[in-house]
Each structure stands twice: as structure tokens, then as C-alpha cells.
């Protein structure tokens, strides 16, 4: 066998592996960039790698150094927490109503829930801005923290409803009948059987809501007024040069998200294995 032939076999045998690695590299390149440039000892802007004094831990030591970054992060966390809580509770109730109860307009409700998901964000943002300016200003509310929260609750709701509904629909109705047969009243049936079985769906819905809210830039940018969220802070500072502390915070959030996913997997598999 010639060398070129061998090489061809070697590549053919490992083709899928090689493609997989390339795809992973492609996926993780932005994260890797963020990580690496959080150690950059840059002068004017964190775009070029400065070999002098790099890598440095300065940005990691004081991630809240640049003015405004801490407030932006706190705003994002606050908006995310409130929007997630409200959207999860309301969305779960709506999902139960849509699956469990018959009422006029149920069919329409099922379709309308998808509307915010299907509408382009830029359109939603523009229309929300109009509504807020037209309506809310007249009752003395200004654009800011609470308008962001209201907007985020709205677009998170659809995702919560869809996620919880799917979980609820896959629930075997016999289980609730069995609970009733075993002397559980309506409350007992709900808290002992229905809720624990739907809970994983509610938790995923909440995590999804939080990440959607935390991530959102387009709608937020329309309705935030003077308030600044973390994505807005990063976008605005792009004009002056994004501080490396944004890389530190961004990468840390990435790590937290990954840890949460792993924790979720571990808990999930524990539940399935022998007690």
C-alpha cells in the first residue's frame, strides 16, 4: 500500500470524527475567544492581542471595575428573576387551562400563544415601545426597569406555555385517576401526582425563560429607556471598546450555565437509578 493510499484510508476511517471535531471547534470558537481575551492586557480596545504583559489576571481580579457594568448586570439579573417568576407562574396556569379545561376560544388560545414566538423581535420591540409611550406615559410610568420586565414576561410566557403544555399532554391521565382511586382528593391528586410529574417541565420552562430574558437585546433596547441591561451595556460600550471585564462576566455566565445543565443531567439520572 502506498503512503497516499494509507493516508486516504486513515482519513476515510476517521471522517465522521474529524467533521465532529471541526464542528465543535466552530461552536466553541466564540467562547474560546471570549475566554482568551479576558486575559488580554490591552491598551485602547480589547480587539488586538497585546503580547506585552499578557496574559494578565487584572480583569478577573476586579470584574466590576468599569463604570456601569455592575449595575447593568444587576439589572439583567433582576429583570430575569422577576420575568421568569411571573412568566413561569402565569404560563403554567395558562398551560393547565389550555390542556385541562374546555372553554370557548380554547382553540384560538392554543394558536394565539404562538404569536409572540412567531413575531420578529424587532416588530415586537417597536410595537411595545409604541404601546408604552402612548399608554404608560399617560399614567405616569416612564420607560425603564419595569417596562423591560413587562416586555420580557410577555415573550417568555409563550415559551413557558408551550413547554409546560407538552409535559402535561404527555402525562397519563390514568395516574390522576389512580390517585383519586387511592383516596386522594383534588388537592392531594394535584400536589402528590400531577405537580411532581409536571415539575421537570416547569423547571425547564423557568430556565429557558431566564436565559431568554438575560440574553435579550432587541426588545430590551426598544423599551429600556435609560435603564441598561448587561447585553445593552456590552452593545453600547462596543462603540468605545468593550472592556475585558465583560469577557470575564460573559465567560463566567457560560460556565454557570454549563454547570446547571450538568447538574440537571445528574439529578435526572439519579431519579431514574435505584434509590
Amino acid at each position: 500500500m502506498s503512503t497516499s493510499q494509507r493516508l486516504r484510508f486513515w482519513i476515510a476511517n476517521r471522517f465522521v470524527m474529524i467533521v465532529a471535531i471541526l464542528v465543535l471547534v466552530y461552536l466553541f470558537l466564540p467562547v474560546a475567544y471570549t475566554f482568551v481575551f479576558s486575559f488580554n492586557n490591552y491598551k485602547k480596545s480589547n480587539i488586538q492581542w497585546n503580547p506585552e504583559g499578557s496574559p494578565t489576571l487584572d480583569h478577573w481580579k476586579n470584574p466590576f471595575g468599569p463604570p456601569g457594568i455592575k449595575d447593568a448586570l444587576l439589572t439583567s439579573l433582576g429583570v430575569g428573576a422577576i420575568a421568569t417568576l411571573v412568566a413561569t407562574v402565569l404560563g403554567t396556569l395558562l398551560a393547565f387551562a389550555l390542556v385541562r379545561h374546555d372553554f370557548r376560544g380554547k382553540g384560538a388560545g392554543n394558536i394565539l400563544v404562538f404569536v409572540p414566538m412567531a413575531t420578529p423581535e424587532i416588530v415586537l420591540g417597536a410595537s411595545l415601545l409604541t404601546i408604552f409611550v402612548q399608554g404608560f406615559n399617560q399614567v405616569g410610568l416612564t420607560l425603564g426597569f419595569w417596562t423591560i420586565v413587562i416586555a420580557h414576561i410577555m415573550f417568555c410566557l409563550s415559551f413557558v406555555v408551550v413547554t409546560v403544555k407538552a409535559r402535561l399532554q404527555s402525562l397519563d391521565p390514568r395516574l390522576e385517576e389512580a390517585a383519586q382511586d387511592l383516596y386522594a382528593g383534588p388537592g392531594g391528586t394535584f400536589w402528590r401526582v400531577t405537580f411532581p410529574l409536571v415539575l421537570p417541565g416547569i423547571v425547564s420552562a423557568a430556565l429557558l425563560s431566564f436565559s431568554l430574558s438575560f440574553d435579550d437585546f432587541i426588545i430590551t433596547n426598544f423599551v429600556s429607556g435609560d435603564a441598561t441591561t448587561f447585553p445593552k451595556f456590552v452593545y453600547v460600550s462596543y462603540l468605545r471598546g468593550i472592556p475585558a471585564e465583560a469577557n470575564v462576566i460573559g465567560f463566567s455566565l457560560f460556565v454557570i450555565a454549563v454547570l446547571l445543565v450538568i447538574a440537571g443531567q445528574v439529578v435526572g439520572s439519579r431519579r431514574r437509578s435505584p434509590a
Binding site: E177, L182, Y183, A184, R272
Partner: protein, 366 residues
């Protein structure tokens, strides 16, 4: 517990009807299940067995009629208010709870103090103590089935409902569980209402079998009585096999009626005829008949038919089954035990006669 109805005694359904929007699943059904008995509700798929059980459990309310246990009217009460528990067709075990917690679910809801101890005792009754900590998904079908039985049994209900509990098991396990369930029922002495579409299962397990068809009870009784003397065509064919032929009662002869069919005049005990006059379907079980190479003669007049043409012979070891085409009487099956030293040497195409003991024939409504 508020609303809970203590009740003791026989389970009684009176004129119970259940109609869904376009369909009557249970049609004016009345039956009594004696306290402490093993009762089987037998019928083909879709005849309304599950609907009947669900009404007894309270998961469905009858359109009309009443359901009682002893003197306590249960109609209209909620499932959790009835001293009745169900073993569901699909088991419906709680996937998020361990086997022990599944079994303890009922006692805990009723506020029993030693709920877990009772669960453990019941698990040992069904021989599952070693699996108490597992989740239902980690059990085999047969084990899940036992958990479902334990979860219902632990509550000592006045009536235990079992909806085709063995339907999902393979044949060998099914036979084992039949014996096991019968043992448990004898041991705890509770009323069991066991739904099945397997006639052999119903007959081997139950004290009383009710045969159900199209939302009605066709016939009810002890398995041997039911088998020996079916009262409807449906029962004659659903419970075992029957040779049936239509005829007309036109005479009596002492204790017998005379049934005229197209080719024969046959005798039938009055007590075994569903009708004393008019149209009737005359029947004999295949294993109650004998086959002959020659006309059995006047001695067997009224208890035999023929000549017919033998169309098939199949040897099954303990018995031989013959299929005979008798003109105007259709195809008859004859099931003869292989007791004779000298085998009847018959081949397809031979001309044969069929006879039976006069006491074994029965007449059902056509």
C-alpha cells in the same frame, strides 16, 4: 375523612346504563356480586367491561341506575369516597415514587399511622419485599403487575376491581399470576371483580362468571354451570366451542321436546331448552360427541345426526379432532379423547355419523 362512605356487603348494580354522546357502552345492566367472592366479568373487547368497572370505582358516573355496596348507595360519590380500589389495565403506577411509596400512597392519604409498615406487609404478600426501593420503571411487567395489586390491596377495600390485570403478560406468567391472584383472594377474603376477555382465565379463577356482550350481561353463573348449559348463542360460542344448528320445537315427548331441523328430529330435555316452542338453536359441545363409521341406528335416534362427510382429522395427543360437514347442519366439530385401544380409522372423505348423550344437548335462543 369527609365524605368517605364506609360500606359492607354485596356489590349491587341496578339497571345501570352509561351512554356516551353517540354510544351506549353499558345498557341497563343489573348484577349482584356476593361479598367475598371472586367474580369474573368476561366479554369481548369493547363490550363495556372497563366502563362498568369505572362506574363502580367512581371514575365515571352512570347515566342512570344505582350502584350499592350492601345498603350504602355509592352513586354520585367521588372515587376517593368509595371503599373500592382498582388495579388498572395499564397498572398506572406513579413513576416518581418508589415501589414502597406507591403502595403506601393509599394508606397515607387516609391518614393511616403505620402506612409504610402496612405497605411492607402487603409487599411481602405479593413477594416483592426485595424490590421496595426501586422505581416502577425498573421492574419487569410481571413485577409491576404485583405492585399494582399490592397498591390496591393494602387499603383492604370492600371491593377490589381488576381490569384485565394479566392482559399484558406472556402466557406462562399469566398462568402463574392466575394462581397467585386466586391465592391472594382466598387469603384476604375480599370481593374481587376481575375483568377479562380470556374465557379460560375467567373459568379457572372465578366463583361466578358473568358473560357480557354489547353492554349487557348475557348470562351469569358458576363456570361449570355456565359451560354445561349456555342460555344464549353468544355464550355457547364465547365460552368454549359449540356445534349449533337452527331448528324448531314442534312436539314434546315425555321430559323432552322434539326439535325439527332440516334433516333430523332431535330430542332435548325440557329443562335444557331455552324455549318450549318456536324457533330454537340446538347445540352440543364438540367433546360431548362421538363419531361413527356406520349409522348408529334407532337406538341413537334423536341423539345423532348423519350421514356427513369427514373433512379433516387432527390428532392432538390427548384427543383427536374431527371436522364433519353434515348437509343442512353445517360443519360440526367432534373432539374425542384417545381412550380406545383400537383407533377409529377414518380419513377425510369418509361418510360418518355423529351421536351424543341425550343429557348433553342444549337449546338456546336462535
Amino acid at each position: 375523612m369527609a365524605g368517605f362512605r364506609e360500606a359492607q356487603g354485596d356489590l349491587v348494580l341496578e339497571n345501570v346504563t352509561k351512554s356516551f354522546t353517540t354510544f351506549t357502552a353499558v345498557d341497563d345492566l343489573s348484577l349482584t356480586v356476593p361479598r367475598g367472592s371472586f367474580f369474573a366479568l368476561l366479554g369481548p373487547s369493547g363490550c363495556g367491561k372497563t366502563t362498568t368497572l369505572r362506574m363502580v370505582a367512581g371514575l365515571e358516573q352512570p347515566t342512570s341506575g344505582t350502584i350499592r355496596i350492601g345498603n350504602t348507595d355509592l352513586t354520585g360519590s367521588r372515587p376517593y369516597e368509595r371503599p373500592v380500589n382498582t388495579v388498572f389495565q395499564s397498572y398506572a403506577l406513579f413513576p416518581h415514587l418508589s415501589v414502597r411509596d406507591n403502595v403506601a400512597f393509599g394508606p397515607k392519604r387516609r391518614g393511616v399511622k403505620d402506612a409504610l409498615a402496612q405497605a411492607d406487609a402487603t409487599l411481602s404478600l405479593v413477594q416483592l419485599t426485595h424490590l421496595a426501593g426501586r422505581k416502577p420503571t425498573q421492574l419487569s411487567g410481571g413485577q409491576q403487575q404485583r405492585v399494582a395489586v399490592a397498591r390496591a390491596l393494602v387499603n383492604h377495600p370492600e371491593v377490589l376491581l381488576l381490569d384485565e390485570p394479566l392482559g399484558a403478560l406472556d402466557l406462562k406468567l399469566r398462568r402463574e399470576m392466575q394462581v397467585e391472584l386466586k391465592r391472594i383472594q382466598t387469603e384476604v377474603g375480599l370481593t374481587f371483580v376481575h375483568v377479562t376477555h380470556d374465557q379460560e382465565e375467567a373459568m379457572t379463577m372465578a366463583d361466578t362468571v358473568a358473560v357480557m356482550n354489547l353492554g349487557k350481561i348475557e348470562q351469569m353463573g358458576a363456570p361449570d354451570v355456565l359451560y354445561d348449559l349456555p342460555r344464549t348463542k353468544f355464550v355457547a360460542n364465547f365460552l368454549g366451542q359449540s356445534n349449533l344448528m337452527s331448528g324448531h320445537v314442534d312436539d314434546t315427548d315425555g321430559d323432552n321436546v322434539v326439535v325439527s331441523t332440516a334433516q333430523h328430529k332431535l330430542r332435548l330435555r325440557k329443562s335444557r331448552a331455552a324455549a318450549g316452542s318456536g324457533d330454537i338453536a340446538f347445540g352440543v359441545r364438540p367433546e360431548k360427541t362421538r363419531i361413527h363409521n356406520a349409522d348408529p341406528g334407532p337406538a341413537a335416534a334423536g341423539n345423532s345426526i348423519g350421514p356427513g362427510t369427514l373433512v379433516d382429522v387432527s390428532f392432538t395427543g390427548v384427543a383427536t379432532q374431527y371436522l364433519v360437514d353434515v348437509p343442512e347442519a353445517g360443519r360440526w366439530a367432534v373432539y374425542e379423547q384417545n381412550l380406545d385401544l383400537e383407533r377409529i380409522d377414518s380419513r377425510p372423505g369418509d361418510t360418518v355419523w355423529i351421536s351424543w348423550d341425550p343429557g348433553h344437548a342444549f337449546g338456546v335462543r336462535p
